[in-house]
Symmetry: C2
Subunit: 223 residues, 2 copies
DNA sequence: CCAAAAGTGTTGGGGCTACACCCATGT
DNA sequence: ACATGGGTGTAGCCCCAACACTTTTGG
């Protein structure tokens, strides 16, 4: 690399795009905004923004999300960098995509001038840029991580029933799981503990509530 | 994002750094160059370079490697993007790191004015920038992929013995594997076939040579 | 004939899958 | 009492891990 980096190499803008997933009514949803300016006016896209000179990539992600959702304690990881020459029609923009997960009880959007919504990933409209591809990459990553990490904790509220946990796996993986085997496996892995509380007010036997012992990602053979 | 991307956002240079691994004498080696200019004169670093305006990231990787090694048919994947503000003392440089693998019979370096060598990953010298961290990330990725893909093909020559294949797994994973179980598993996965040739000229029983049926990466439960 | 690495089967145990009924509550 | 989801155990099978000796060649 050259000793001095000339202006010739500062042609690209650097952006982040964030794929925020959550679970709504047993369906995986992604956070989308609607562009208010050309060249994609009216078309939906992922929340994102240009990196500023004094910001790390993670800082940019937090800044971009701050006006939209409460990202406190949110799980976040770098997903992939999309650098095709033609991916942004305005000029060369290289985008570092991030994957973020928030629990289903923290999905409330802040009041905003932006037009922002949760959209089911299985029913996406046409999106700006290469954002359809980015979301596809994110879904693949999430599915993969479900089977060798405890990442699912990042989609669950503080307390939850084992049935709810199982449904979460099922609707992301796209296939059903045997109830007894699932419970044996989860309990044996020793990742959750009873909270002592139960679900009340339903016309059936009240379910035991559980919580994760640790809310940090570890690698472990799951399903 | 703004409609027009002003010069204010074009502060960063974009670079690629490539972690090229190969196997030499049953040890994982990485390709390192020695810097000939400040601020890291004399210090080793990964081969890399600044992305040009008309290049995709992959094109930059190929251009950077072309004078050094024959990368024809080389396996390559994007590894991670390193974007800390202070990672390059000269100015803001965001680097997209790539992981590349080449077979042990294709490691010959092109004659070059650069000072380039294969260095064992377990015995790295101090490196420039955050390149030690990048190599660490690459080793972790490689180990992980060994267990759920057939990626090892990218480190093997066209023909090889099963013992050699096993040794390759062992020295990357860092633990030994039972010979009979290993051979059962590999043959059952149906990834390799006998080439018909045998090793000649050794003072012991000649080993059968095998080749991979397909030299492209697939996901499959390995070890 | 000796040294060196190649090649080959079996057995036991643990984990996964498949499967059906009783329980506790609200109405 | 009934409707609804919660909660539980077992048996067969498959896969994995552990383990040692014979074979083939060159010198």
């Amino acid at each position: 690399m050259p000793t001095v980096i000339t202006q010739e190499f500062r042609f690209a803008a650097l952006a982040v795009d964030v794929v925020v997933f959550t679970l709504i009514k047993d369906t995986l949803h992604v956070l989308l905004t609607r562009n208010i300016k050309e060249p994609f006016k009216g078309i939906r896209s992922l929340p994102g923004g240009l990196v500023k000179e004094s910001e790390s990539l993670e800082m940019t992600v937090k800044r971009v999300l701050a006006p939209i959702i409460d990202g406190t304690g949110m799980y976040m990881e770098q997903l992939y960098t999309f650098g095709n020459v033609e991916r942004d029609p305005r000029s060369r923009v290289v985008s570092v995509a991030y994957l973020a997960l928030i629990p289903s009880d923290a999905i409330h959007l802040f009041p905003s001038t932006y037009d922002i919504d949760w959209i089911p990933v299985n029913n996406l409209p046409a999106l700006a840029y290469d954002h359809t591809e980015i979301i596809g990459t994110a879904v693949t990553r999430l599915k993969g991580k479900l089977s060798y990490t405890n990442i699912i904790f990042a989609l669950m509220p503080e307390e939850f029933t084992l049935t709810k946990l199982q449904q979460t796996y099922e609707c992301i993986l796209g296939h059903s799981i045997d109830k007894r085997n699932f419970r044996k496996k989860i309990l044996q892995l020793d990742l959750v503990e009873e909270s002592g509380n139960t679900v009340k007010g339903e016309p059936n036997r009240p379910a035991q509530l559980y919580r994760f012992k640790k809310r940090e990602m570890i690698e472990i053979e799951m399903l």
